[in-house]
């Protein structure tokens, strides 16, 4: 048996069911691990030890009283929550000094759904301030380090969440993605990250970034765990009018389906500028999938480099509007507390939306967005899913995000197009570079095809064991 903190949700549930250990044992193991390694990697902004121990004891009592894991599928499971989800009574900062000391009087829908499912929250994880970035280096509470090499970045913005998985500081993690913020750090930290279809998971109570794109989702140690979490989170929420009324699939029943005969699209445009070790690992993964019976088909997709420009405009414009509310009156500090990255984004968005420029920038970007949406629709007439590298590079050294005001966009080039079209995508670990950095690929599907991409990811994962590798910390 592994140390308890190393378990997946599936393994933890089996152990709890067979009474091999209690939720309190599991929770203490995670809290001990946080004490042991978080000084090195800084994955957490806030550790909620007292609340976690209470929640674990309560979960154990409920289990004794006959509460089942069928009714509460995450009963007693310790999770970390990205610090841009409002948590009642627990400080929520979005890793910005503007919100330091802010204690929300309510839970985000994602958090209340997790609590209803029985989770134990062990703490709030670090992110790029306001989720603006792909490094977790712009956090006002210091950078998170990559557990595979603490001289390198974990990616971002959900860098703390991904690092908390690679370092086994919790059993599962919750992140959020606007364009890359789940898949990219999951890739760099060698774990699974699922960005659902836009509107599949409620945004209510998430510190808003770009409202037409924001998508909460799981970062986990296995594909099956991602399905478990998504099953809890997915569904219509009256508090978020953009959540979809589409029925929620059973994400487990399709995991074990054979994938032979599936058509997988691969586009050369997604290999431009991709470093050699990443390209090699992804090609090896495609070869293995071919052996498993899928058909790999070359397709042509809209070049990702243009998507960067679309995303930059949409994101900045929506940020400038969303962050207008932080005036230090109802909560938090005043606007002098914003750091450079947020200021840059607010100002560019304000400029793009200001009189005389709306058509040139925001409206133009929304039109190109239509072109991208249509381009994917055309592709999905030819193939079932698309596979591509998640990131052109493996984890970069600390400090890399300061090289350019466009660093984040470059890092997210391969995940932005699918985000802009509202599509679901999942990062799956597929090996390592010679230097020991994790590499992943992403499976992208049509809107609301989470079952299908989870199926492909699961089948690949079961045929390999990359997801079981852990860094030595």
């Amino acid at each position: 048996m592994n140390n308890l903190n190393q378990l997946t949700i599936k393994q933890a549930k089996e152990g709890l069911k067979q009474k091999k250990f209690s939720s309190l044992d599991l929770t203490k193991a995670c809290l001990d691990r946080i004490k042991e390694v978080d000084g090195k990697i800084n994955a957490f902004v806030t550790v909620t030890e007292k609340e976690a121990l209470e929640a674990a004891k309560k979960a154990d009592e409920l289990a004794l009283q006959g509460e089942t894991l069928e009714a509460k599928p995450l009963l007693g499971i310790p999770v970390s929550i990205k610090d841009n989800f409002c948590t009642e009574g627990i400080q929520t900062t979005a890793s910005s000094k503007v919100l330091e000391g802010f204690i929300p009087p309510y839970d985000a829908t994602v958090v209340s759904r997790l609590k209803n499912a029985g989770v134990v929250i062990v703490g709030k994880t670090n992110l790029d301030a306001w989720a603006h970035g792909s490094s977790t280096e712009t956090s006002d509470f210091g950078p998170t380090k990559n557990p595979w090499n603490i001289g390198h970045l974990p990616g971002g913005s959900s860098g703390g969440a991904a690092a908390s998985m690679a370092a086994d500081e919790a059993i599962a993690a919750i992140g959020s993605e606007t364009a890359g913020s789940i898949r990219q750090p999951a890739d760099w930290c060698g774990v699974v990250g699922l960005k659902p279809t836009y509107g599949r998971v409620s945004r209510y109570g998430v510190v808003a970034m770009a409202s037409s794109l924001d998508s909460p989702g799981p970062i986990t140690k296995s594909v099956e765990d991602a399905a478990t979490i998504l099953q809890v989170l997915a569904g219509k929420d009256p508090l978020d009018a953009t959540t979809s009324p589409n029925p929620v699939d059973n994400y487990f029943s399709s995991l074990t389906k054979k994938i032979s005969g599936l058509k997988i699209g691969v586009s050369d445009e997604y290999f431009n500028g991709v470093t050699e070790p990443v390209r090699e690992r992804v090609m090896e993964a495609l070869k293995l999938l071919e052996k498993m019976g899928v058909k790999v088909k070359k397709i042509k997709l809209f070049p990702p480099e243009y998507t960067i420009a679309v995303y930059t405009i949409l994101q900045r414009a929506e940020v400038s509007s969303n962050l207008a509310r932080y005036d230090g009156i109802r909560f938090g500090h005043d606007r002098s507390y914003f750091a450079d990255e947020a200021k840059r984004r607010i100002m560019l968005g304000t400029y793009a939306l200001s009189a005389g420029y709306y058509d040139q920038y925001y409206n133009k970007a929304q039109k190109v967005r239509t072109v991208i949406v249509e381009d994917f629709k055309k592709a999905f007439k030819e193939v079932d899913v698309i596979i591509a590298p998640t990131n052109p590079w493996t984890a970069l050294p600390l400090g890399a995000s300061k090289s350019s005001p466009m660093y984040g966009e470059m890092a997210d080039a391969l995940v932005e197009p699918s985000s802009i079209a509202g599509l679901p995508g999942i990062n799956v670990p597929c090996g390592f570079t010679k230097e020991g950095f994790p590499v992943g690929f992403q499976v992208i599907g049509p809107q609301f095809s989470e079952s299908l991409i989870l199926n492909v990811a699961y089948q690949y994962e079961q045929a390999t064991k990359w997801h079981e590798e852990r860094p030595k910390l």
Partner: protein, 96 residues
């Protein structure tokens, strides 16, 4: 596209962001660099293309107009540092 210092100051004023002179110089350069990049969009022909703002196609989402439990006045005021008689206290915006 190059932004001038005056444009940076104007945008900062619209966004209510206090900037130092050094910041104005820094952002003048950085924002111009980003604007140069996004000018690539002009290479894409969007004649006759409608803009997309809602990717899953939802329109006019309505709900029943019913009252539901909400935060108490004390809870709503719980995080502010400036309150008076159960209200948020703000700076005057109109001159007397």
């Amino acid at each position: 596209m190059k932004l001038t210092k005056d444009q940076v100051k104007h945008v900062a004023k619209l966004a209510n962001l206090p900037l130092t002179d050094e910041e104005v110089t820094k952002f003048e350069e950085q924002l111009s660099e980003t604007l140069d990049y996004i000018d690539q969009l002009n290479e894409i022909d969007t004649t006759g293309v409608e803009p997309t703002s809602q990717v899953t196609g939802l329109e006019n989402v309505l709900r029943e107009d019913e009252t539901k439990p909400s935060l108490s006045q004390d809870e709503a005021l719980g995080n502010t540092k400036s309150k008076q008689n159960g209200f948020f206290k703000v700076k005057a915006i109109l001159e007397q």
